[in-house]
Structures are given as structure tokens and as C-alpha cells.
């Protein structure tokens, strides 16, 4: 389903930030902002939030428990072997493996979560309002229903380069 969008193209980060502030003041909702590098003001401006760190923490916790349990089961319960007279439950050895394996689990889990949540995965088609946004332009996108004179005015005031309309 393609919808029409209003697209504002900025040349400078400052202008973009000012525009966001102005738009937020006027309670005009911005659909999305595309920048060549992360602009924190833009992220905050859109009110985006992420619970990513919590996911990672959870992954780590579960991973560590699972790995420790696995190690304990295999070397103490299932088949305790005598390696050089050491006790079967060799906790110091387990810690090392647990740390590394937990890190691996977190990494893989995080990447997966990132792919899912950010929608970044192999074969995904990039739909860009303006191709230059990955190079040197800062692009704002609005839903058509949010289009208004006021919007355009605010953009103009804050030094927008171009205002286009595009079906995406």
C-alpha cells in the first residue's frame, strides 16, 4: 500500500534540530527522520525509546543460567569423570566457559533482536524518501494527513532545502 508523504530535506544538522524543536512545539508529529549519522536530538525529538539493553540483560541472565546448568549436569550428574584428581564440580572452570558463552548468547540474541526490531536483515528492501539521506542530507518525513501550511512554514523558517511529496 502506497501512501503519499511530505518530505523535507535539510542540509545541516543544526537546521534539522531547530526544525524538530519547532515542530514539537507546535505538536506536529513527524513520521520519521532519516540522517546520515545518528542525531540524538532527532531521536529524542521523535520520542523513540528502546528497551534493547533490557533484552540484552535478560538474554545474559538466561544464557548464564542455562550454560551453568548444562555444565553442572554434564560433568557432575550425567557422567562424572576423574580428571587429574580434581572434583567433578569444578566451578572455576565453569565460570570461564559461562562468561564466554553468555557473551556469545547475548551477541547473537542482540543481533537477532536488532534485526527484528529495527527491521534490518538480508534481503530487506530499503525504502527511502530521499536517497541522499545516507550521504549528506537530513530528511524529515510526514504523513500526508499531517500536511499543513503551518508545517511547511515551520520547515521553511528553519532552513529546509527542499519540500517534496512522494508516494512510498
Amino acid at each position: 500500500m502506497k501512501n503519499k508523504h511530505v518530505i523535507g530535506v535539510f542540509d545541516k544538522e543544526e537546521n534539522l534540530v531547530n526544525a524538530i524543536n519547532a515542530l514539537n512545539d507546535h505538536k506536529i508529529s513527524i513520521e520519521e527522520i532519516y540522517t546520515p549519522y545518528p542525531v540524538h536530538e532527532a531521536i529524542h525529538g521523535l520520542g523513540q525509546k528502546s528497551r534493547f539493553t533490557w533484552v540484552a540483560f535478560f538474554l545474559g541472565l538466561v544464557g548464564a543460567i542455562v550454560v551453568l546448568a548444562f555444565l553442572y549436569y554434564t560433568s557432575v550428574i550425567d557422567w562424572p569423570l576423574n580428571f587429574g584428581g580434581k572434583p567433578s564440580s569444578a566451578f572455576p572452570s565453569f565460570i570461564i566457559i559461562t562468561i564466554v558463552t553468555t557473551i556469545l548468547i547475548i551477541t547473537i540474541g542482540s543481533l537477532f533482536t536488532f534485526s527484528v526490531r529495527a527491521g534490518i536483515y538480508p534481503g530487506k528492501e530499503a525504502i527511502l524518501p530521499d536517497e541522499r539521506s545516507t550521504d549528506d542530507k537530513f530528511v524529515m518525513m510526514f504523513r500526508q494527513e499531517d500536511d499543513s501550511e503551518q508545517l511547511r512554514k515551520i520547515l521553511q523558517e528553519n532552513g529546509v532545502e527542499e519540500i517534496n511529496e512522494k508516494e512510498l
Partner: protein, 389 residues
């Protein structure tokens, strides 16, 4: 079962190695070694002798009924099978005939002229021309060298494996590059199913690596345990004499067979044909090359004596219902896990005086009634050195 003789079979290490390597390569999808082994397989030289390839081929077709005999009867192969089989077929195999024909050049012509097989069921209508006899003999000469064709399970697993691999590749290409199919679920589903199949095959292969459960080769003589054990009520130990006192149960020597078969010259199923093989072997002083069914690798040491005498194990616990088998089949996978499992569960005869010297703790526990039996693993039965040295 029969403990192998380590020394004679160094080569088996390499076979095992070869096999492991081959599987490993298969698993990693490296094809070229497969080609290597195929090349070496195909490298075997045909013993042409006096027959040409063409004659052999024609003979084979005649035998199998692909070309009709002049005198009208259909084929030989419907009775004399040309491929190894799972179920017992009491008729002499084509290979048996071929071997006999190699030894006695007049064997086949004797058969056709009727003199030899007068009265043998099914041969009433058989008659071959001289040329046909020669062609069949040509086929026999080839067969005697090569043996029966292997009975191959269809469909070929490897083929499916590669096929699904290809499908997987297609699905991936579709998903990433082509994007022709509108419903994304289709390639994704294909991908997942194929992946699942691959995982299944790989894990199954990995698990069964080196195992040969359900192995049931055709033996040089159609010796039926069902006939001997169930019908004739012969005790296992009558033939497998080593069970009680040696690591090896032992395959009976020829003279043991002859104890009975000097008198019993005709069997209920195969007539005289199979029993004659024993006599022939005795005459020619060539031992019979049985195919080993239950085979443990060289690095595993297993003693029948301990298991049967001390462990009081019944033969059937490892070898299955042999008395129900015409063709002996390996019923357990003989894997290490299988051994270990049994060792963990089976109780030892702790009253044996051997245990009276040490194992104080266990004795104490026993006295105090904490335990009422000792399992094999508690007296060290799952230590590496019990079986590997």
C-alpha cells in the same frame, strides 16, 4: 559378538578412517573425495578371460529375462536371484551357480541337458541352446568375480540431501536477490523445511557414524539360525564354544558342522545345495568366509566370558531373537552409549569372592542396608580402561 583379531585387521583402522573422512566430507559437502573413492572403486580390472564384455552382457540379459530364450522359457533370475536380499530366498543364488560353474565347466551344460537336475523342481521346461549356455556362462564368469549386486535402498538419501540443498540455495537467492514470488512465506517455508531436513540427516548420519544396526548380510551358506535353534533345538554354546571361557564366542569350525552334517545331507528348505557347500569346503580345505555381523571396532575389547559367565547375560539381550532369524541381523546398534547404559543399570554379582578384597565402602553400605545391589558402574564398569586399551 565375535571379538575381532586386532592384528590381522590393521587395515580396518583405515577403513574406519576412510569412512569417517568420507562422511565428514559428505557432511561438509566437499565432493571431490567422493570422486576419488568412486574412481578407485571403478578402477577394478575386469577379469575378461575368454569371454568378451558383450557376451557377458548378453548372458546377463538372458539370465534376467531381458532377452527371451529361444526355447521359450522366461528367465533364470526369477528363481536364482542376482541381488543380495533382506529376506531369505532358499533358491540357490546366481552367484552360487556362477561359483559352481567356474569350478566345473560342464556344470551349466549338465543342468540344461537335464542330466544333473532331473527331478529338481522348476527345471522341467528349462532348455538352452549351446550358444545361450555359453552366454550365460560368460555372465557367470563375471558374476563369480564380482559377487551379487548390493541391494540398495531407494530412494537415495544422498541425492535427496543434495536436492534439498539446491532448493535451499534457490530459496535463498529468491529471498535475497530475485524476489519474484510475492508471498514471502513460500520461500521461507521451503527454506525452513529444507533446513530441517538437512539438520535431521546430518544428525542422523552423525549418530549412526560407524554403527551398523540392522546389518544383515547374505552369508556364503544360507545357514538359518531359525532352523537350527528353533526347529532343531540346538543350544547356542554347541557351536559358539568360546562364550564361556574366551573373549570370542567363536564361529564354529567346519568339522563342527560336519559332526551333524556328515549324516544330515539334506535340509528342509534348500535341499542338498547349501549343505553341499560344507562338504565342498572340507574337501578343498578352504575355510568358509562368513561375513561378520556383530562387529566391534578394533579399539573396543569385549569378553564374552565375563558377560556370559559372570554377568549371566542371555545371548538374546545383545543378539536379539536369533532363533527367529533366517538371516542374522544386528538388532542393537552396539554403540558405546548402549554399552554404558547397560553397565549403569546392570547389577553385578557382588558375592563373587573377587569383590571381597576391596570395595570396603560398598560392602559397608550393603551391610547397613543403604543399598541392596551394586551396579557395574559402581565397581568401575564405565571406566575407559574397561574396554579401551
Amino acid at each position: 559378538m565375535f571379538q575381532s583379531d586386532k592384528t590381522m585387521n590393521i587395515s580396518r583402522h583405515y577403513l574406519a578412517f576412510n569412512k569417517a573422512l568420507n562422511r565428514f566430507l559428505l557432511l561438509t559437502l566437499i565432493l571431490f573425495t567422493c570422486q576419488l573413492t568412486m574412481a578407485s572403486e571403478g578402477g577394478g580390472q575386469h577379469q575378461k578371460g575368454k569371454y568378451t564384455e558383450l557376451e557377458m552382457m548378453k548372458g546377463e540379459r538372458l539370465f534376467k529375462g531381458l532377452i527371451p530364450f529361444q526355447e521359450g522359457f522366461k528367465d533364470c533370475a526369477s528363481c536364482h536371484y542376482t541381488k543380495t536380499n533382506k529376506e531369505i530366498d532358499w533358491n540357490p543364488s546366481a552367484y552360487d551357480l556362477a561359483v559352481l560353474s567356474r569350478e566345473d565347466t560342464a556344470y551349466l551344460s549338465g543342468a540344461i541337458s537335464g542330466s544333473r537336475f532331473q527331478g529338481v523342481k522348476g527345471h522341467e521346461e528349462v532348455s538352452l541352446t549351446n550358444k545361450e549356455t555359453e552366454l550365460v556362462e560368460a555372465y557367470f564368469s563375471k558374476l563369480a568375480d564380482h559377487g551379487l549386486k548390493k541391494h540398495k535402498p531407494v530412494p537415495e538419501k544422498t541425492l535427496i540431501f543434495f536436492g534439498t540443498g539446491f532448493l535451499m540455495l534457490l530459496a535463498l537467492i529468491e529471498l535475497i536477490f530475485l524476489k519474484k514470488i510475492k508471498i514471502k512465506a513460500i520461500p521461507v517455508l521451503v527454506l525452513l523445511v529444507a533446513l530441517g531436513f538437512h539438520l535431521k540427516v546430518v544428525s542422523e548420519e552423525a549418530i549412526s557414524l560407524g554403527r551398523s544396526e540392522n546389518y544383515a548380510p547374505n552369508q556364503p551358506i544360507k545357514f538359518s539360525h531359525k532352523v537350527h535353534v528353533k526347529q532343531n533345538k540346538i543350544d547356542c554354546k554347541y557351536c559358539h564354544t568360546g562364550v564361556d571361557n574366551s573373549q570370542n564366542a567363536g564361529i564354529p569350525s567346519n568339522n563342527l558342522c560336519l559332526n551333524c552334517h556328515n549324516v544330515v545331507r539334506e535340509g528342509s528348505n534348500s535341499g542338498t545345495f547349501e549343505i553341499n557347500k560344507i562338504h565342498r569346503a572340507a574337501e578343498q580345505e578352504e575355510p568358509i568366509e562368513w561375513k561378520k555381523v556383530h562387529d566391534l571396532p578394533d579399539h573396543v575389547f569385549f569378553s564374552h566370558a565375563t558377560h556370559v559367565q559372570n554377568g549371566n547375560l542371555d545371548c538374546a539381550e545383545c543378539h536379539g531373537q536369533v532363533e527367529e532369524m533366517h538371516i542374522v541381523e544386528q538388532v542393537e546398534d552396539l554403540s558405546m552409549g548402549w554399552c554404558i547404559e547397560c553397565h549403569r543399570e546392570t547389577e553385578v554379582d557382588f558375592d563373587n569372592k573377587y569383590y571381597s578384597k576391596n570395595f570396603e565402602e560398598l560392602h559397608q553400605k550393603m551391610e547397613e542396608g543403604q543399598i541392596d545391589a551394586v551396579t557395574v558402574d559402581e565397581v568401575g564398569g564405565i571406566n575407559c580402561m574397561k574396554c579401551h586399551y
